[in-house]
């Protein structure tokens, strides 16, 4: 995990590199779409914005936070908080009995690299990027339908670019220096709403932010145009570029562990 100091685009929060062992998991080949998230958002059997129900639906968006970039037909869902992404996981768990969650930073980077130690999963040449990723250079400032470019060698699409992807981890610029080497299943546990780590860069970023090692993080400015107090816990007015994909740990937690997990992250 991380990148060497001499890698082009390297930033200090990507070092020191650490050897990480990851427990087995499945990961969605595609970013979660508006269509999929919509099944949750429109589920009439679930309350809306309850402060007590363990699973509850997001409120309506005050304005259209897809910003006209597309909804039906496989576009990635966007502009949601980490809470909303995890509530979708909780809802899926209730519906299917299978525990899904966001990936950790370590899981995400492991999956993105798909065995590669180069700058990019396909090697060191940034000129190859347009084949694999929607980024500033080819996106026309919009996210695109998921799965339309080439996947990485493990069959995962849009890991880099398109929408940046929420991870579970609290962002800590010194995170890697605090990890043992080697380390198993690292996770920076939740401390506060901001900053949380997002990975992969997005359609608004240049190649330097679309490296498997590059780390970005959420901040209050992502919701600066929400005029209400308190601000929405579901939606972000100024982070159209953020989305997510889900993972399914092979070793499933017990029902009690799963509920504890969601309580820790969602708070109810």
């Amino acid at each position: 995990m991380g990148s060497a100091d001499n890698q082009k685009g390297h930033r200090p929060d990507e070092s020191p590199q650490k050897e990480v062992t990851i427990s087995a998991f499945w990961m969605a080949a595609l970013e979660t779409t508006h269509d999929e998230f919509g099944a949750f958002w429109t589920d009439q059997s679930v309350t809306i914005n309850s402060s007590v129900d363990a699973v509850t639906r997001p409120t309506s968006q005050y304005i259209d936070l897809s910003w006209g970039m597309g909804k039906e037909g496989g576009f990635p869902v966007n502009s949601m908080s980490q809470t909303a992404a995890l509530m979708y996981c909780h809802w899926l768990y209730k519906k299917t009995g299978i525990f899904y969650r966001l990936p950790t930073e370590a899981e995400w980077e492991y999956a993105c690299r798909a065995g590669s130690e180069a700058t990019f999963p396909w090697g060191d040449d940034a000129n190859e990027m347009s084949k694999y990723a929607w980024f500033k250079g080819n996106s026309k400032s919009k996210y695109q339908k998921t799965g339309t470019l080439l996947p990485n060698t493990w069959g995962l699409y849009d890991m880099l670019g398109n929408v940046a992807e929420w991870t579970l981890d609290q962002y800590d610029s010194a995170y890697f220096s605090k990890l043992a080497d080697p380390v198993r299943d690292p996770l920076a546990s939740p401390q506060s709403r901001y900053p949380k780590t997002v990975r992969g860069g997005s359609y608004v970023d240049g190649p330097e932010n679309l490296r498997p090692a590059s780390r970005q993080y959420s901040e209050p400015a992502w919701n600066k145009r929400d005029p209400q107090f308190p601000k929405s816990r579901w939606w972000l007015t100024d982070a159209a570029f953020v989305g997510f994909r889900i993972v399914r740990p092979v070793k499933q937690p017990t029902a009690e562990e799963a509920e504890q997990f969601f309580k820790a992250y969602i708070g109810q």
Binding site: D64, G68, Y194, P220, A221, K224, F229, P230
Partner: protein
């Protein structure tokens, strides 16, 4: 103003005024005597809901020496929850900066006012008032604040009917005479992308048509609770009653209509349109429509096509667009193109600001310096009137002329504001409210 809170400067100023023999003056119009950045600017908040709480925090987060001294709301529980929220230990999630504004809040029990007349008492204690109740009350609150000589931040829309518009226009003229700064929460005027676009609007030549959208899922609903009087129920679930809200074409779509007026530099002369209630029906939803589509005509012959819809799972879009003789302006994207689609200007979205904070930053900076810079009320009233014109057109199905509508005297408000009084619209035996029917409903 209690004696032990008097600052040195207050004391000195008070002494000066006494020496001049103007004993009554500070009570009459303290705002006009406001004289320097070292002084404390006293704020009263009128309307303590989600937006009022937000606006209050934005005022308290400006760089000026401000203090919240009074709060008013129709409901005690709303006031209390607001008071608790603004006193939060840490506002990082709100402002992006650690810390709080507790030391800028000085609202003891005796300066918390509740009820329909609470606003008068709160306004009297301040230099600047924030008016953020449901819009139906804005005209009387604005009138009172102007009468008392206060600087004003007021939310949009500024009225719900033509009678209210006339009151706001009259008070706006007096505010100008008194040099009271008035900012209206049509925050796109304070947003970098819009400010850059309007500077360049001549790049598209003459504007020949415009489009405006506020299509989304809708807003909150507060179902009736046992023991509520009809008045209390409507005040709680205010979005769905025209006298309080103006319908969503007025309450939300005003933002987009206002942008068109702003770039056009004028207001429509007539409107016609269609609308109704297709999905959002039932007794929780009062009397408002869930969609409106209006054709606004400007004096130069150009047309604004405006649509607003509150229906889930339909195309959502909140934006404005202009077509001119030489190009197009896409407001949401911050982009200007020629008629072939070539981009001739692109606003850098990374330089976008938080316009809700900026509107307060600029207002309070002007007040602190003693400058008179903002007179937003007249435009606020005329853009609100634009939205009302649209509503009258969709409700009636007729062509509605601006001059006739604004002078119609149409007044939706109750004669008496009291929890036991009857509001202007009442439900039938099934709990349903009368809804406008195009072709039958008269607009004035």
């Amino acid at each position: 103003m209690s004696a032990d809170k008097t600052t040195r400067r207050d004391f000195v100023k008070g002494g000066t005024l006494l020496a001049g023999g103007l004993i009554a003056a500070p009570l009459l119009s303290r705002a006009n005597y406001f004289s320097g950045a070292a002084d404390t600017i006293k704020i009263a908040l009128v309307g303590c809901g989600g937006r009022g709480t937000g606006a209050c925090l934005q005022a308290l987060l400006t760089k000026q020496n401000v203090k919240l001294v009074a709060m008013a709301d129709a409901f005690r529980d709303r006031l209390d929850s607001c008071y608790k929220q603004i006193n939060a230990d840490d506002l990082t999630e709100w402002s992006g900066n650690k810390g709080n504004v507790k030391n800028k809040i000085d609202v003891p029990e005796e300066r918390k006012f509740v009820g329909f007349d609470a606003y008068q008492k709160a306004i009297a204690l301040a230099d600047v008032v924030i008016l953020a109740t449901p819009p139906g009350f804005r005209p009387i609150h604005f009138e009172e604040a102007v009468k008392q000589g206060k600087h004003i931040f007021m939310e949009k829309p500024v009225a719900t009917d033509p009678a209210g518009i006339q009151r706001v226009l009259a008070a706006a003229a007096i505010a100008k005479q008194k040099k009271l700064n008035v900012v209206v929460g049509l925050q796109r005027h304070y947003q970098n992308s819009y400010r850059e676009l309007i500077k360049r609007k001549d790049q598209i030549g003459e504007i020949t048509s415009a489009q405006a959208w506020w299509n989304n899922d809708g807003v909150w609903v507060r179902p009736r609770q046992p023991n509520q009087t009809e008045m209390e129920y409507q005040m709680r679930n205010w979005y769905y009653f025209v006298w309080l809200c103006g319908d969503h074409i007025t309450e939300q779509h005003i933002h987009n209509l206002d942008v068109i007026n702003w770039f056009k530099g004028s207001y429509p002369v007539k409107a016609q349109g269609m609308g109704g209630r297709e999905v959002r029906k039932g007794k929780d939803f009062g009397e408002i429509f869930d969609h409106h589509y209006v054709e606004f005509h400007y004096a130069d012959g150009s047309i604004l096509n405006s649509q607003c819809r509150h229906i889930p799972h339909t195309m959502s879009k909140v934006d404005e667009m202009f077509t001119g003789t030489k190009g197009k302006i896409f407001c949401g994207e911050g982009k200007i193109t020629d008629l072939k689609g070539n981009v001739i200007y692109q606003f850098d979205m990374k330089t976008e600001n938080d316009p809700y904070q900026t509107e307060h930053d600029e207002l309070f900076a002007a007040i602190a310096k003693g400058d008179y810079k903002f007179a937003d009320a007249e435009n606020g009233a005329k853009s609100t009137m634009t939205s009302i014109l649209g509503r009258l057109a969709t409700y009636s199905g007729q062509v509605v002329e601006w001059d006739k509508a604004i002078n119609s005297g149409l007044d939706l408000h109750p004669k008496v504001y009291d929890w036991a009084a009857a509001p202007p619209v009442l439900p039938n035996a099934d709990g349903l409210y009368p809804v406008a029917t195009p072709g039958i409903t008269k607009y004035a």
